[in-house]
Protein backbone atom coordinates (compact mmCIF):
# COMPACT_ATOMS: atom_id res chain seq x y z
CA UNK A 1 0.00 0.00 0.00
CA UNK A 2 1.29 3.44 -0.86
CA UNK A 3 2.29 5.62 2.05
CA UNK A 4 -0.07 8.48 2.93
CA UNK A 5 1.07 11.73 1.38
CA UNK A 6 0.09 15.35 1.85
CA UNK A 7 -0.11 18.09 -0.72
CA UNK A 8 2.70 20.42 0.29
CA UNK A 9 2.89 24.00 -0.91
CA UNK A 10 6.33 25.63 -0.90
CA UNK A 11 6.89 29.34 -1.35
CA UNK A 12 10.59 29.56 -2.11
CA UNK A 13 12.64 32.75 -2.14
CA UNK A 14 14.19 33.22 -5.56
CA UNK A 15 16.76 35.78 -6.57
CA UNK A 16 19.35 35.67 -9.31
CA UNK A 17 21.30 38.93 -9.40
CA UNK A 18 22.17 38.29 -13.08
CA UNK A 19 18.53 38.51 -14.19
CA UNK A 20 16.29 39.57 -11.28
CA UNK A 21 15.88 43.16 -10.16
CA UNK A 22 14.15 42.10 -6.96
CA UNK A 23 13.56 38.91 -5.04
CA UNK A 24 10.36 36.96 -5.65
CA UNK A 25 8.67 33.92 -4.18
CA UNK A 26 8.03 30.95 -6.41
CA UNK A 27 5.32 28.47 -5.51
CA UNK A 28 5.77 24.72 -5.93
CA UNK A 29 3.23 22.10 -4.91
CA UNK A 30 4.26 18.47 -4.37
CA UNK A 31 2.69 15.35 -2.88
CA UNK A 32 5.03 14.19 -0.14
CA UNK A 33 5.04 12.01 2.95
CA UNK A 34 4.66 14.16 6.11
CA UNK A 35 8.02 13.04 7.48
CA UNK A 36 9.87 14.32 4.38
CA UNK A 37 12.62 16.76 5.32
CA UNK A 38 12.42 20.22 3.78
CA UNK A 39 15.84 19.62 2.19
CA UNK A 40 14.64 16.44 0.44
CA UNK A 41 11.65 18.36 -0.87
CA UNK A 42 13.86 21.16 -2.21
CA UNK A 43 16.16 18.64 -3.92
CA UNK A 44 13.12 17.02 -5.52
CA UNK A 45 11.96 20.41 -6.75
CA UNK A 46 15.39 20.96 -8.23
CA UNK A 47 15.54 17.50 -9.81
CA UNK A 48 11.99 17.30 -11.13
CA UNK A 49 10.59 20.81 -11.47
CA UNK A 50 13.17 23.56 -11.59
CA UNK A 51 16.88 22.83 -12.07
CA UNK A 52 17.80 26.49 -11.55
CA UNK A 53 17.01 26.48 -7.81
CA UNK A 54 20.23 27.14 -5.87
CA UNK A 55 20.88 25.92 -2.36
CA UNK A 56 23.74 24.77 -0.17
CA UNK A 57 23.75 21.30 1.38
CA UNK A 58 25.94 18.28 1.86
CA UNK A 59 25.46 15.52 4.43
CA UNK A 60 21.63 15.47 4.78
CA UNK A 61 22.14 14.22 8.33
CA UNK A 62 22.42 17.36 10.47
CA UNK A 63 26.17 16.93 10.78
CA UNK A 64 27.77 19.23 8.19
CA UNK A 65 25.79 22.38 8.98
CA UNK A 66 25.47 23.44 5.33
CA UNK A 67 21.70 23.65 4.87
CA UNK A 68 20.65 26.23 7.47
CA UNK A 69 17.88 28.45 6.12
CA UNK A 70 14.74 30.21 7.24
CA UNK A 71 11.84 27.75 7.30
CA UNK A 72 8.58 29.55 8.06
CA UNK A 73 10.64 32.40 9.52
CA UNK A 74 12.72 30.23 11.86
CA UNK A 75 16.43 29.51 11.42
CA UNK A 76 16.56 25.75 10.93
CA UNK A 77 18.55 22.99 9.25
CA UNK A 78 16.45 22.06 6.23
CA UNK A 79 17.60 18.44 6.48
CA UNK A 80 16.10 17.86 9.92
CA UNK A 81 12.92 19.92 9.59
CA UNK A 82 10.03 17.72 8.53
CA UNK A 83 7.29 19.16 6.35
CA UNK A 84 4.33 17.63 8.25
CA UNK A 85 4.41 19.81 11.39
CA UNK A 86 5.19 22.90 9.28
CA UNK A 87 2.11 22.35 7.11
CA UNK A 88 -0.04 21.54 10.13
CA UNK A 89 0.98 24.84 11.68
CA UNK A 90 1.26 27.22 8.74
CA UNK A 91 -0.61 25.56 5.90
CA UNK A 92 2.45 26.02 3.68
CA UNK A 93 6.22 26.12 3.87
CA UNK A 94 7.98 29.42 3.23
CA UNK A 95 11.67 28.84 2.54
CA UNK A 96 14.07 31.78 2.63
CA UNK A 97 17.82 32.28 2.81
CA UNK A 98 19.44 32.95 6.19
CA UNK A 99 19.30 36.50 7.54
CA UNK A 100 22.25 38.75 8.35
CA UNK A 101 24.29 37.59 5.33
CA UNK A 102 23.97 38.95 1.79
CA UNK A 103 22.10 36.70 -0.65
CA UNK A 104 24.23 35.42 -3.52
CA UNK A 105 21.48 33.53 -5.29
CA UNK A 106 18.18 31.98 -4.14
CA UNK A 107 18.89 30.22 -0.84
CA UNK A 108 22.66 30.65 -0.96
CA UNK A 109 24.15 33.43 1.16
CA UNK A 110 27.61 34.95 1.33
CA UNK A 111 28.97 33.70 4.66
CA UNK A 112 32.02 35.97 4.68
CA UNK A 113 30.85 38.07 7.68
CA UNK A 114 30.06 34.94 9.69
CA UNK A 115 33.45 33.35 9.10
CA UNK A 116 35.27 36.64 9.65
CA UNK A 117 33.90 36.75 13.20
CA UNK A 118 34.87 33.11 13.67
CA UNK A 119 38.47 33.89 12.69
CA UNK A 120 38.50 37.00 14.86
CA UNK A 121 38.11 34.92 18.06
CA UNK A 122 41.07 32.73 17.01
CA UNK A 123 39.36 29.38 17.53
CA UNK A 124 42.45 27.28 18.06
CA UNK A 125 44.59 26.36 21.03
CA UNK A 126 47.25 28.85 21.97
CA UNK A 127 49.98 26.93 23.74
CA UNK A 128 52.98 28.03 25.70
CA UNK A 129 55.91 27.50 23.30
CA UNK A 130 58.12 26.69 26.28
CA UNK A 131 55.76 23.85 27.29
CA UNK A 132 54.66 22.05 24.14
CA UNK A 133 52.17 19.23 24.39
CA UNK A 134 53.86 15.85 24.70
CA UNK A 135 54.24 14.19 21.31
CA UNK A 136 54.47 10.65 22.62
CA UNK A 137 51.24 10.41 24.65
CA UNK A 138 47.80 11.98 24.73
CA UNK A 139 47.11 14.77 27.20
CA UNK A 140 44.31 14.07 29.62
CA UNK A 141 41.62 16.16 31.28
CA UNK A 142 39.67 15.56 34.43
CA UNK A 143 35.90 15.04 34.13
CA UNK A 144 35.45 18.44 35.85
CA UNK A 145 37.59 20.11 33.18
CA UNK A 146 35.60 18.46 30.41
CA UNK A 147 32.33 19.50 32.04
CA UNK A 148 33.29 23.15 31.75
CA UNK A 149 33.08 22.99 27.96
CA UNK A 150 29.33 22.46 28.39
CA UNK A 151 27.74 21.74 24.99
CA UNK A 152 30.07 24.01 22.98
CA UNK A 153 32.12 21.27 21.25
CA UNK A 154 28.92 20.13 19.51
CA UNK A 155 28.77 23.28 17.36
CA UNK A 156 28.69 22.51 13.63
CA UNK A 157 29.00 26.16 12.56
CA UNK A 158 25.73 26.07 10.62
CA UNK A 159 25.09 29.79 11.33
CA UNK A 160 21.46 29.25 12.34
CA UNK A 161 22.24 31.31 15.46
CA UNK A 162 23.90 34.06 13.44
CA UNK A 163 20.87 34.22 11.17
CA UNK A 164 18.46 34.53 14.10
CA UNK A 165 20.44 37.15 16.04
CA UNK A 166 18.95 40.66 16.35
CA UNK A 167 22.22 42.02 17.74
CA UNK A 168 24.07 40.93 14.58
CA UNK A 169 21.31 42.58 12.57
CA UNK A 170 21.56 45.85 14.47
CA UNK A 171 25.26 46.24 15.13
CA UNK A 172 28.24 45.10 13.04
CA UNK A 173 30.45 45.20 16.14
CA UNK A 174 28.69 42.22 17.67
CA UNK A 175 30.64 39.03 16.87
CA UNK A 176 27.55 36.83 16.87
CA UNK A 177 26.54 33.84 19.00
CA UNK A 178 28.60 31.16 17.26
CA UNK A 179 31.91 33.04 17.44
CA UNK A 180 31.34 33.75 21.13
CA UNK A 181 30.39 30.15 21.92
CA UNK A 182 33.61 29.06 20.17
CA UNK A 183 35.57 31.63 22.14
CA UNK A 184 34.09 30.27 25.37
CA UNK A 185 35.23 26.79 24.35
CA UNK A 186 38.87 28.01 24.20
CA UNK A 187 38.58 30.23 27.28
CA UNK A 188 37.72 27.23 29.44
CA UNK A 189 40.20 24.86 27.77
CA UNK A 190 42.81 24.03 30.44
CA UNK A 191 45.50 23.68 27.75
CA UNK A 192 45.03 27.18 26.40
CA UNK A 193 47.42 29.81 27.72
CA UNK A 194 45.72 32.94 26.36
CA UNK A 195 42.65 32.89 28.62
CA UNK A 196 43.10 36.36 30.08
CA UNK A 197 44.12 37.91 26.76
CA UNK A 198 41.02 36.41 25.11
CA UNK A 199 38.73 37.75 27.86
CA UNK A 200 40.30 41.19 27.80
CA UNK A 201 39.97 41.26 24.02
CA UNK A 202 36.33 40.30 23.96
CA UNK A 203 35.27 42.56 26.84
CA UNK A 204 36.12 45.49 24.56
CA UNK A 205 35.25 43.54 21.41
CA UNK A 206 31.47 43.54 21.38
CA UNK A 207 30.68 41.00 24.12
CA UNK A 208 28.27 43.36 25.87
CA UNK A 209 26.18 43.89 22.75
CA UNK A 210 24.49 40.52 23.31
CA UNK A 211 20.81 41.19 23.98
CA UNK A 212 20.30 37.89 25.83
CA UNK A 213 17.12 37.40 23.83
CA UNK A 214 17.95 33.66 23.64
CA UNK A 215 16.87 33.43 19.99
CA UNK A 216 20.23 31.74 19.26
CA UNK A 217 19.64 29.13 21.94
CA UNK A 218 16.22 28.38 20.49
CA UNK A 219 17.61 28.25 16.94
CA UNK A 220 20.64 26.03 17.59
CA UNK A 221 20.07 22.52 16.15
CA UNK A 222 22.79 21.09 18.40
CA UNK A 223 21.64 22.63 21.69
CA UNK A 224 24.92 24.54 22.14
CA UNK A 225 22.99 27.26 24.05
CA UNK A 226 25.17 30.18 22.89
CA UNK A 227 23.32 32.83 24.93
CA UNK A 228 24.22 31.03 28.16
CA UNK A 229 27.87 30.72 27.22
CA UNK A 230 27.91 34.43 26.36
CA UNK A 231 26.61 35.03 29.88
CA UNK A 232 29.48 32.90 31.22
CA UNK A 233 31.99 34.91 29.18
CA UNK A 234 30.67 38.14 30.69
CA UNK A 235 31.14 36.89 34.23
CA UNK A 236 34.59 35.49 33.40
CA UNK A 237 35.63 38.75 31.72
CA UNK A 238 34.65 40.80 34.78
CA UNK A 239 36.47 38.33 37.04
CA UNK A 240 39.61 38.48 34.88
CA UNK A 241 39.82 42.21 34.32
CA UNK A 242 37.13 44.05 36.24
CA UNK A 243 34.42 46.09 34.55
CA UNK A 244 35.97 48.22 31.80
CA UNK A 245 33.07 48.83 29.41
CA UNK A 246 29.65 50.48 29.67
CA UNK A 247 28.08 47.03 29.58
CA UNK A 248 30.16 45.49 32.33
CA UNK A 249 29.98 48.65 34.45
CA UNK A 250 26.21 48.52 34.09
CA UNK A 251 26.08 44.87 35.18
CA UNK A 252 28.34 45.46 38.18
CA UNK A 253 26.59 48.76 39.00
CA UNK A 254 23.23 47.01 38.93
CA UNK A 255 24.53 44.33 41.25
CA UNK A 256 25.81 46.95 43.69
CA UNK A 257 22.59 48.93 43.47
CA UNK A 258 20.60 45.98 44.80
CA UNK A 259 23.05 45.31 47.61
CA UNK A 260 22.22 48.77 48.96
CA UNK A 261 18.44 48.61 49.32
CA UNK A 262 17.25 45.37 47.75
CA UNK A 263 15.65 47.26 44.88
CA UNK A 264 17.03 49.03 41.84
CA UNK A 265 18.00 52.68 42.20
CA UNK A 266 17.55 53.93 38.63
CA UNK A 267 19.38 57.26 38.98
CA UNK A 268 22.30 55.82 40.86
CA UNK A 269 22.69 53.11 38.26
CA UNK A 270 22.88 55.60 35.39
CA UNK A 271 25.62 57.43 37.30
CA UNK A 272 27.52 54.21 37.95
CA UNK A 273 27.33 53.19 34.30
CA UNK A 274 28.18 56.50 32.67
CA UNK A 275 30.07 58.32 35.42
CA UNK A 276 29.07 61.83 36.59
CA UNK A 277 29.84 63.39 33.19
CA UNK A 278 27.90 60.75 31.31
CA UNK A 279 25.00 61.33 33.65
CA UNK A 280 24.98 64.91 32.38
CA UNK A 281 24.55 63.59 28.83
CA UNK A 282 21.40 61.75 29.95
CA UNK A 283 19.86 64.89 31.48
CA UNK A 284 17.68 65.89 28.53
CA UNK A 285 16.05 62.49 28.23
CA UNK A 286 15.85 62.21 32.01
CA UNK A 287 13.89 65.46 32.20
CA UNK A 288 11.51 64.32 29.49
CA UNK A 289 10.78 61.15 31.42
CA UNK A 290 10.71 62.90 34.80
CA UNK A 291 7.85 65.17 33.70
CA UNK A 292 5.60 62.11 33.33
CA UNK A 293 7.26 59.78 35.81
CA UNK A 294 8.70 61.81 38.69
CA UNK A 295 9.75 58.61 40.50
CA UNK A 296 12.83 58.23 38.24
CA UNK A 297 14.81 60.55 40.48
CA UNK A 298 13.50 59.15 43.73
CA UNK A 299 15.53 56.90 45.94
CA UNK A 300 13.68 53.57 46.11
CA UNK A 301 12.43 52.41 49.48
CA UNK A 302 14.53 49.89 51.34
CA UNK A 303 12.93 46.44 51.29
CA UNK A 304 12.12 44.77 54.59
CA UNK A 305 14.93 42.50 55.77
CA UNK A 306 17.36 44.15 53.33
CA UNK A 307 20.12 42.98 55.63
CA UNK A 308 19.48 39.44 54.32
CA UNK A 309 20.51 40.64 50.85
CA UNK A 310 23.70 42.12 52.28
CA UNK A 311 24.50 38.81 53.96
CA UNK A 312 23.86 36.84 50.76
CA UNK A 313 26.26 39.19 49.00
CA UNK A 314 28.79 38.73 51.78
CA UNK A 315 28.62 34.95 51.24
CA UNK A 316 28.57 34.81 47.44
CA UNK A 317 30.02 38.05 46.13
CA UNK A 318 33.36 38.31 47.81
CA UNK A 319 35.07 38.79 44.47
CA UNK A 320 37.54 36.04 45.29
CA UNK A 321 35.59 32.93 44.31
CA UNK A 322 36.08 31.68 40.78
CA UNK A 323 32.92 31.88 38.70
CA UNK A 324 31.40 28.39 38.70
Amino acid sequence: MAETTVSATFDVYRFDPAVDRAARYQRYTLDLAPHTPVLTALLRIRAEVDPTLSLRYSCRSAICGSCAMQVNSKSRLACETQIGPEIARHGRIVVEPMHNQPVLRDLVVDQTPFWREYERVEPHLKLDPARPMPADRPTSMTPEQVERFKETPRCIACAACYSSCPAVEADPEFPGPMALAKLYRYVVDPRDTATRERLVGIQAGGLWLCLRCHLCTDACPKDVRPSERIRDLKELAIAAQGATEHGSRHAVGFKESIRDAGLLNEMQLVRRTYGPLGLFGQLGQGLRIWRKKPEVVRRPHRIEKAEEIEKIYAALDTGTEAPK
Partner: protein, 293 residues
Amino acid sequence: MKFAYYPGCVAQESGKELDLATRWVCRALGIELVEFPSFSCCGSGFVDEANEVLNVAINARNLAIAERAGLNLLTICSTCQGMLTLANHRMTDPKVRARVDGALKPLGIEYRGTVRVTHLLRVLVEEVGLPAIRAKVRRPLAGLKVGAFYGCHLLRPTDEMGGEDGEEPHSFEDLLSAIGADPVYYRGRVMCCGFPVQFVKEATASRIAGRQIQDAKAHGAHAMATPCPLCHITLDAYQNKAEKAVGARLDMPVFHLPQLVGLALGATPEELGLSRHLVPTEAAVARVRPSGA
Protein backbone atom coordinates in the same frame (compact mmCIF):
# COMPACT_ATOMS: atom_id res chain seq x y z
CA MET B 1 -7.29 32.61 43.03
CA LYS B 2 -4.48 33.89 45.17
CA PHE B 3 -0.84 34.70 44.41
CA ALA B 4 2.26 36.15 46.00
CA TYR B 5 2.43 39.41 44.04
CA TYR B 6 5.88 40.22 42.69
CA PRO B 7 5.60 43.68 41.11
CA GLY B 8 9.32 44.11 40.34
CA CYS B 9 11.28 47.36 40.62
CA VAL B 10 9.98 49.33 37.66
CA ALA B 11 6.27 48.93 38.49
CA GLN B 12 7.00 50.26 41.98
CA GLU B 13 8.74 53.36 40.65
CA SER B 14 8.78 54.85 37.14
CA GLY B 15 6.34 52.27 35.79
CA LYS B 16 3.79 52.73 38.54
CA GLU B 17 0.93 52.78 36.01
CA LEU B 18 1.58 49.07 35.44
CA ASP B 19 1.05 48.34 39.13
CA LEU B 20 -2.12 50.48 39.15
CA ALA B 21 -3.57 48.68 36.15
CA THR B 22 -2.60 45.24 37.49
CA ARG B 23 -4.38 45.86 40.78
CA TRP B 24 -7.46 47.16 39.00
CA VAL B 25 -7.68 44.15 36.67
CA CYS B 26 -6.99 41.61 39.41
CA ARG B 27 -9.70 43.17 41.59
CA ALA B 28 -12.15 43.01 38.68
CA LEU B 29 -11.34 39.36 37.99
CA GLY B 30 -11.18 38.14 41.58
CA ILE B 31 -7.44 37.49 41.65
CA GLU B 32 -6.14 38.09 45.16
CA LEU B 33 -2.66 39.62 45.34
CA VAL B 34 -0.71 39.09 48.55
CA GLU B 35 2.12 41.58 49.06
CA PHE B 36 5.51 40.85 50.54
CA PRO B 37 7.53 43.98 51.34
CA SER B 38 10.65 41.83 51.70
CA PHE B 39 10.81 40.86 48.01
CA SER B 40 14.02 42.09 46.40
CA CYS B 41 14.83 42.93 42.78
CA CYS B 42 15.19 39.88 40.47
CA GLY B 43 18.50 41.17 39.12
CA SER B 44 16.96 42.01 35.75
CA GLY B 45 19.48 39.87 33.84
CA PHE B 46 22.30 42.25 34.78
CA VAL B 47 23.16 40.69 38.13
CA ASP B 48 23.11 37.32 36.33
CA GLU B 49 25.81 38.65 33.98
CA ALA B 50 27.97 39.77 36.88
CA ASN B 51 27.50 36.78 39.20
CA GLU B 52 25.22 33.91 38.26
CA VAL B 53 25.12 32.11 41.60
CA LEU B 54 24.47 35.34 43.50
CA ASN B 55 21.56 36.03 41.18
CA VAL B 56 20.13 32.56 41.77
CA ALA B 57 20.51 33.10 45.53
CA ILE B 58 18.63 36.42 45.70
CA ASN B 59 15.83 34.87 43.66
CA ALA B 60 15.79 31.68 45.73
CA ARG B 61 15.26 34.01 48.69
CA ASN B 62 12.29 35.61 46.88
CA LEU B 63 10.89 32.20 46.04
CA ALA B 64 11.35 31.02 49.63
CA ILE B 65 9.23 33.95 50.83
CA ALA B 66 6.35 32.80 48.61
CA GLU B 67 6.95 29.18 49.56
CA ARG B 68 6.67 29.91 53.28
CA ALA B 69 3.29 31.51 52.60
CA GLY B 70 2.22 28.50 50.53
CA LEU B 71 1.64 30.63 47.42
CA ASN B 72 2.67 30.56 43.81
CA LEU B 73 4.27 33.72 42.55
CA LEU B 74 2.75 36.16 40.06
CA THR B 75 5.00 38.45 38.01
CA ILE B 76 4.01 41.36 35.78
CA CYS B 77 7.33 41.68 33.97
CA SER B 78 8.80 39.37 31.33
CA THR B 79 12.29 39.82 32.77
CA CYS B 80 11.23 39.10 36.38
CA GLN B 81 9.38 36.07 35.02
CA GLY B 82 12.52 34.89 33.22
CA MET B 83 14.92 35.46 36.10
CA LEU B 84 12.74 33.79 38.75
CA THR B 85 11.98 30.85 36.46
CA LEU B 86 15.67 30.42 35.64
CA ALA B 87 16.45 30.45 39.36
CA ASN B 88 14.01 27.57 39.81
CA HIS B 89 15.82 25.68 37.04
CA ARG B 90 19.35 26.46 38.15
CA MET B 91 18.52 25.32 41.68
CA THR B 92 18.16 21.81 40.25
CA ASP B 93 21.93 21.81 39.58
CA PRO B 94 23.38 20.27 42.76
CA LYS B 95 26.52 22.44 42.62
CA VAL B 96 24.59 25.68 42.33
CA ARG B 97 22.12 24.51 44.94
CA ALA B 98 24.88 23.71 47.44
CA ARG B 99 26.35 27.20 47.17
CA VAL B 100 22.97 28.92 47.36
CA ASP B 101 21.89 26.81 50.34
CA GLY B 102 25.20 27.62 51.98
CA ALA B 103 24.39 31.33 51.77
CA LEU B 104 20.70 31.07 52.73
CA LYS B 105 20.75 28.51 55.55
CA PRO B 106 22.63 30.75 58.03
CA LEU B 107 19.80 33.28 57.52
CA GLY B 108 17.21 30.65 58.38
CA ILE B 109 16.01 30.58 54.78
CA GLU B 110 15.36 27.38 52.90
CA TYR B 111 13.93 27.07 49.43
CA ARG B 112 12.58 23.60 48.66
CA GLY B 113 11.77 24.37 45.03
CA THR B 114 7.97 24.12 45.12
CA VAL B 115 6.93 27.58 43.91
CA ARG B 116 5.51 27.96 40.42
CA VAL B 117 6.40 31.29 38.83
CA THR B 118 3.74 32.61 36.51
CA HIS B 119 3.12 35.83 34.63
CA LEU B 120 -0.13 37.79 34.63
CA LEU B 121 -0.54 36.98 30.90
CA ARG B 122 -0.48 33.24 31.64
CA VAL B 123 -2.82 33.60 34.60
CA LEU B 124 -5.35 35.50 32.49
CA VAL B 125 -5.18 33.05 29.59
CA GLU B 126 -4.75 29.73 31.41
CA GLU B 127 -6.24 30.17 34.87
CA VAL B 128 -8.93 32.86 34.68
CA GLY B 129 -9.57 31.70 31.12
CA LEU B 130 -10.59 33.61 28.02
CA PRO B 131 -14.32 32.78 28.24
CA ALA B 132 -14.48 34.26 31.77
CA ILE B 133 -12.68 37.38 30.60
CA ARG B 134 -14.90 37.69 27.52
CA ALA B 135 -17.95 37.53 29.81
CA LYS B 136 -16.69 40.50 31.82
CA VAL B 137 -15.81 42.76 28.89
CA ARG B 138 -17.89 45.93 29.09
CA ARG B 139 -16.23 47.87 26.32
CA PRO B 140 -14.79 45.58 23.61
CA LEU B 141 -11.74 47.20 22.02
CA ALA B 142 -13.30 46.82 18.58
CA GLY B 143 -11.48 48.68 15.86
CA LEU B 144 -8.19 48.85 17.72
CA LYS B 145 -5.39 47.02 15.96
CA VAL B 146 -2.79 46.01 18.51
CA GLY B 147 0.69 44.60 18.00
CA ALA B 148 1.53 42.36 20.96
CA PHE B 149 5.16 42.64 22.03
CA TYR B 150 6.05 39.72 24.29
CA GLY B 151 9.48 40.52 25.76
CA CYS B 152 12.15 37.83 25.32
CA HIS B 153 12.35 36.46 28.83
CA LEU B 154 8.70 35.49 29.01
CA LEU B 155 9.33 33.15 26.07
CA ARG B 156 12.92 31.98 25.91
CA PRO B 157 14.87 29.81 26.29
CA THR B 158 11.77 27.82 25.33
CA ASP B 159 13.10 24.71 27.11
CA GLU B 160 13.09 26.50 30.46
CA MET B 161 10.23 28.95 30.05
CA GLY B 162 7.84 26.24 28.91
CA GLY B 163 4.43 27.58 28.18
CA GLU B 164 4.51 28.10 24.47
CA ASP B 165 6.70 28.18 21.36
CA GLY B 166 9.31 30.88 21.94
CA GLU B 167 9.27 32.02 18.34
CA GLU B 168 5.58 31.58 17.54
CA PRO B 169 3.54 32.30 20.65
CA HIS B 170 -0.12 33.19 20.47
CA SER B 171 -1.38 33.59 24.07
CA PHE B 172 -1.16 37.38 24.00
CA GLU B 173 -2.96 37.62 20.66
CA ASP B 174 -5.63 35.25 21.98
CA LEU B 175 -6.12 37.55 24.97
CA LEU B 176 -6.32 40.61 22.71
CA SER B 177 -9.02 38.90 20.66
CA ALA B 178 -10.93 38.03 23.83
CA ILE B 179 -11.12 41.70 24.80
CA GLY B 180 -12.31 42.62 21.33
CA ALA B 181 -9.12 44.09 19.89
CA ASP B 182 -7.62 43.08 16.53
CA PRO B 183 -4.23 41.44 17.09
CA VAL B 184 -1.59 42.18 14.47
CA TYR B 185 1.00 39.51 13.69
CA TYR B 186 4.49 40.74 12.83
CA ARG B 187 8.01 39.30 13.13
CA GLY B 188 9.11 41.88 15.70
CA ARG B 189 6.57 40.71 18.28
CA VAL B 190 8.97 38.04 19.60
CA MET B 191 12.15 40.06 19.09
CA CYS B 192 14.23 42.07 21.53
CA CYS B 193 13.16 45.63 22.39
CA GLY B 194 16.78 46.77 22.75
CA PHE B 195 16.60 47.37 26.49
CA PRO B 196 19.61 45.21 27.46
CA VAL B 197 21.92 47.52 25.52
CA GLN B 198 20.11 50.77 26.35
CA PHE B 199 22.98 51.61 28.70
CA VAL B 200 25.67 49.85 26.67
CA LYS B 201 25.20 51.48 23.29
CA GLU B 202 22.15 53.65 23.06
CA ALA B 203 22.19 54.00 19.27
CA THR B 204 21.96 50.23 18.86
CA ALA B 205 19.15 49.92 21.39
CA SER B 206 17.22 52.71 19.65
CA ARG B 207 17.72 51.11 16.25
CA ILE B 208 16.36 47.80 17.53
CA ALA B 209 13.36 49.42 19.25
CA GLY B 210 12.67 51.51 16.15
CA ARG B 211 12.68 48.44 13.92
CA GLN B 212 10.14 46.57 16.00
CA ILE B 213 7.83 49.59 16.21
CA GLN B 214 8.14 50.17 12.45
CA ASP B 215 7.38 46.50 11.87
CA ALA B 216 4.22 46.69 14.00
CA LYS B 217 3.20 49.87 12.21
CA ALA B 218 3.82 48.39 8.77
CA HIS B 219 1.43 45.60 9.70
CA GLY B 220 -1.27 48.11 10.55
CA ALA B 221 -0.96 48.38 14.34
CA HIS B 222 -2.56 51.47 15.92
CA ALA B 223 -0.92 50.61 19.22
CA MET B 224 1.41 48.10 20.80
CA ALA B 225 1.00 46.30 24.10
CA THR B 226 3.60 44.58 26.25
CA PRO B 227 3.67 42.36 29.34
CA CYS B 228 7.12 43.77 30.21
CA PRO B 229 7.79 47.19 31.79
CA LEU B 230 11.38 47.11 30.52
CA CYS B 231 10.18 46.77 26.94
CA HIS B 232 7.78 49.59 27.80
CA ILE B 233 10.69 51.84 28.74
CA THR B 234 12.46 51.40 25.40
CA LEU B 235 9.29 51.39 23.29
CA ASP B 236 7.55 54.31 25.03
CA ALA B 237 9.89 56.43 27.16
CA TYR B 238 12.72 56.20 24.60
CA GLN B 239 10.56 56.19 21.47
CA ASN B 240 11.84 59.67 20.58
CA LYS B 241 15.34 58.18 20.31
CA ALA B 242 14.02 55.25 18.28
CA GLU B 243 12.45 57.74 15.88
CA LYS B 244 15.81 59.43 15.40
CA ALA B 245 17.56 56.10 14.90
CA VAL B 246 15.24 54.95 12.13
CA GLY B 247 14.62 58.43 10.73
CA ALA B 248 10.83 58.28 10.86
CA ARG B 249 7.93 59.54 12.93
CA LEU B 250 6.53 56.57 14.84
CA ASP B 251 3.77 57.98 17.08
CA MET B 252 3.10 54.54 18.47
CA PRO B 253 1.24 54.40 21.76
CA VAL B 254 2.43 51.47 23.87
CA PHE B 255 0.16 49.97 26.51
CA HIS B 256 1.01 47.75 29.41
CA LEU B 257 -0.94 44.50 29.05
CA PRO B 258 -3.28 45.06 32.03
CA GLN B 259 -4.07 48.59 30.83
CA LEU B 260 -5.75 47.24 27.71
CA VAL B 261 -7.54 44.53 29.67
CA GLY B 262 -8.65 47.17 32.17
CA LEU B 263 -9.96 49.45 29.42
CA ALA B 264 -12.04 46.59 28.05
CA LEU B 265 -13.35 45.71 31.51
CA GLY B 266 -14.51 49.28 32.04
CA ALA B 267 -11.68 51.09 33.83
CA THR B 268 -11.14 54.78 33.11
CA PRO B 269 -7.85 56.01 31.62
CA GLU B 270 -7.11 57.69 34.99
CA GLU B 271 -7.52 54.43 36.87
CA LEU B 272 -4.96 52.87 34.53
CA GLY B 273 -2.42 55.69 34.69
CA LEU B 274 -2.53 56.31 30.94
CA SER B 275 -1.46 59.93 31.35
CA ARG B 276 1.94 58.73 32.58
CA HIS B 277 3.01 57.54 29.12
CA LEU B 278 5.49 59.52 27.05
CA VAL B 279 3.67 58.77 23.80
CA PRO B 280 0.03 59.89 24.22
CA THR B 281 -2.55 57.11 24.24
CA GLU B 282 -5.69 59.22 23.71
CA ALA B 283 -5.90 58.74 19.95
CA ALA B 284 -5.66 54.97 20.32
CA VAL B 285 -8.28 54.88 23.07
CA ALA B 286 -10.55 57.06 20.90
CA ARG B 287 -10.33 54.49 18.11
CA VAL B 288 -12.31 52.02 20.14
CA ARG B 289 -15.79 51.98 18.66
CA PRO B 290 -18.47 52.78 21.24
CA SER B 291 -20.13 49.55 22.31
CA GLY B 292 -23.26 48.70 20.42
CA ALA B 293 -22.05 50.68 17.38
